[in-house]
Symmetry: C2
Subunit: 332 residues, 2 copies
DNA sequence: CTGTTAGCGCTTTCAT
DNA sequence: ATGAAAGCGCTAACAG
């Protein structure tokens, strides 16, 4: 592998001149540029990113931590971030936190050890305190899908309360009054906000909230199924169920069918997130659109703007969910 | 940030001794180990991975290239690889090739430039020749989901022909004779193999292959929908359709329903890959299981064994699909 | 506009 | 078993 020394020798200029043209620094004569580029081509020279990082203290890498590398939600996030960063010549090191405190901590340490210039974090298990403390360290980072008051400008988040509200409102407007709710883990902020939104809609329509109709799931399909099973077996009265995400909604729909409930005739459903497969469920699932890609892109832009000093028009932290109306809700 | 010099000074031993205990080299006295570790703890020292890489010419990073970062198939692959590698203290740099020749080439170059110790590649657009040529370079790599005769020991692949055969056989055994086939892009080896398997099953059951019943899709949901629409509008006779992957099957099922075909009563379906959402379609989709995780894990193990000299029991290159029988096939 | 000179923080022979 | 010293390949003042 040719080094910069050989380029320098062949081009007949100094090391620094080579470095300058390689990094597009100004104040380099056209002539030396030409000479250097010729030498580079001739030698098939490729700079060593490692050596460059050691000397410059930059890696052009941003570290990403998401809960899982699979799953429609995280997949879209990753795609959105990677493509935006890649377009600016920055690279991503991706790792998984598995919604587990230790894993998330390890993941972050790993990314810091890899000398990432900045991080994009989707952390669920780590406490607000830990994150606020991390902010005092020297590694810049943003949070996605999470709101922490103290560092809110570095957070990108959805108005989950509004989403929960709009979802249930949709059910109410179709005449439903007995509405079950399959929530995410309520200790999680997003899950709780969606739930609060649900209750807000109920209140607005003067429908009394019935605690028995709440089932707390974990955002995974199986828990949706468990939820509907629980509700049915308890013989609880409901004509519709709002689910805190699409995975659970699909599980719940499956569970309902196991009890021969026809959808949406006997039971309506609404999901949340609008992941790609909702359109391919039967009936197609009405849900709340989560602008995942836009949020992913924005978080990447924050990095580009603040760390790499690129010109970015405007940073916007709050994202708004919108209703996707399909076929899983029956008017009664 | 403390450096190794400070550790050396505080511990009262030489640089090299510190380096030795840090890297678990043998021939270090218990005493110096203790002294060094104490100093490390006291200083909160963390080695710089960059400096280490520069000096040692290793990065402990393996580069992964997949077509997309989203999608159930790639997601599972990534998860499988990352967890296996991570467990051995190796790291992954992940990038997307978008099934495009230039993107894939760029991605590989990027990973090489990042000084990855080895690569795991899922490439679709790049030619066999390009890959064989790459093999002559100095970067070690394996291929997943692809078979190239010349480097077959470094390939991990599914017996797609068998899968295609078994899928259609399942339909035939349920009495179907008029079987439509929605294929992937037939220039792709895996798509073509599945299709060949389909025809083989037909032949074995003495059912004549009818070219009109073939629709060539692109593995994406929409093309499944387009396929079924085409078949129906042409008024072609069929009682079942075999799809080359689950995405297209879900699209096809949706399309069939748009024409008020009941599934599976009026039309049976079988998919391929057994991605997670097949279970949540209605009816649940019968499909061929693709041991994605196992393949991902195996490819990571190849790297661990051959690059990092870990003890790995056995490497196995060929993976076998198996039938997952659910509710989308009607006996006639 | 160009060249000289120090390192960046660590690993790795080679002696001892 | 330990230490000294020579880089790994590049960037970034600084001087000219």
């Amino acid at each position: 592998m040719a080094t910069i020394y050989e380029v320098s020798a062949l081009a007949g200029v100094s090391l620094s001149s080579v470095s300058r043209v390689l990094n597009n620094h100004e104040h380099v004569s056209e002539k030396t540029k030409l000479k250097v580029n010729a030498a580079v081509d001739k030698l098939g020279y490729r700079p060593s990113s490692i050596a460059r990082s050691l000397a410059s203290n930059r890696t052009d890498c941003v570290g990403i931590l998401v809960s899982e590398l699979h799953g429609p939600f995280y997949g879209d996030m990753l795609t959105g971030i990677e493509s935006e960063l890649r377009a600016s010549g920055k690279h991503t090191i991706i790792t998984a936190g598995h919604s587990d405190k230790k894993s998330e901590r390890d993941g972050i340490e790993f990314l810091i050890d890899r000398n990432c210039d900045a991080l994009i974090l989707l952390v669920e298990a780590l406490s607000d305190e830990y994150i606020i403390e991390l902010k005092k360290g020297k590694i810049p980072f943003v949070l996605i899908n999470r709101y922490i008051e103290e560092i809110k400008d570095d957070c990108f988040y959805l108005d989950n309360l509004l989403g929960g509200y709009l979802a249930t409102k949709q059910l109410l407007e179709h005449g439903h009054k007995d509405i079950a709710y399959i929530s995410g883990p309520l200790i999680k902020r997003d899950a709780n906000d969606r739930f609060i939104g649900h209750k807000k809609a109920l209140a607005e329509f003067n429908v009394e909230y019935n605690e028995a109709l709440l089932y707390q799931g974990d955002f995974l399909t199986q828990s949706g199924r468990d939820g509907i099973t629980h509700l049915i077996e308890k013989q609880l009265p409901f004509t519709a169920v709002a689910c805190a995400n699409d995975e659970m909604a699909s599980g719940a729909m499956k569970g309902a069918r196991d009890f021969d409930l026809s959808i949406p005739e006997e039971c309506s459903f609404i999901g949340f997130d609008n992941v790609f497969f909702t359109e391919y469920l039967y009936p197609q699932l009405s849900t709340m659109h989560y602008p995942t890609k836009a949020m992913a892109k924005m978080s990447a832009q924050w990095i580009l703007k603040n760390i790499y000093k690129k010109d970015i028009a405007e940073i916007n932290n709050l994202f708004i969910p919108s209703l996707i109306s399909r076929d899983s809700i029956q008017r009664i």
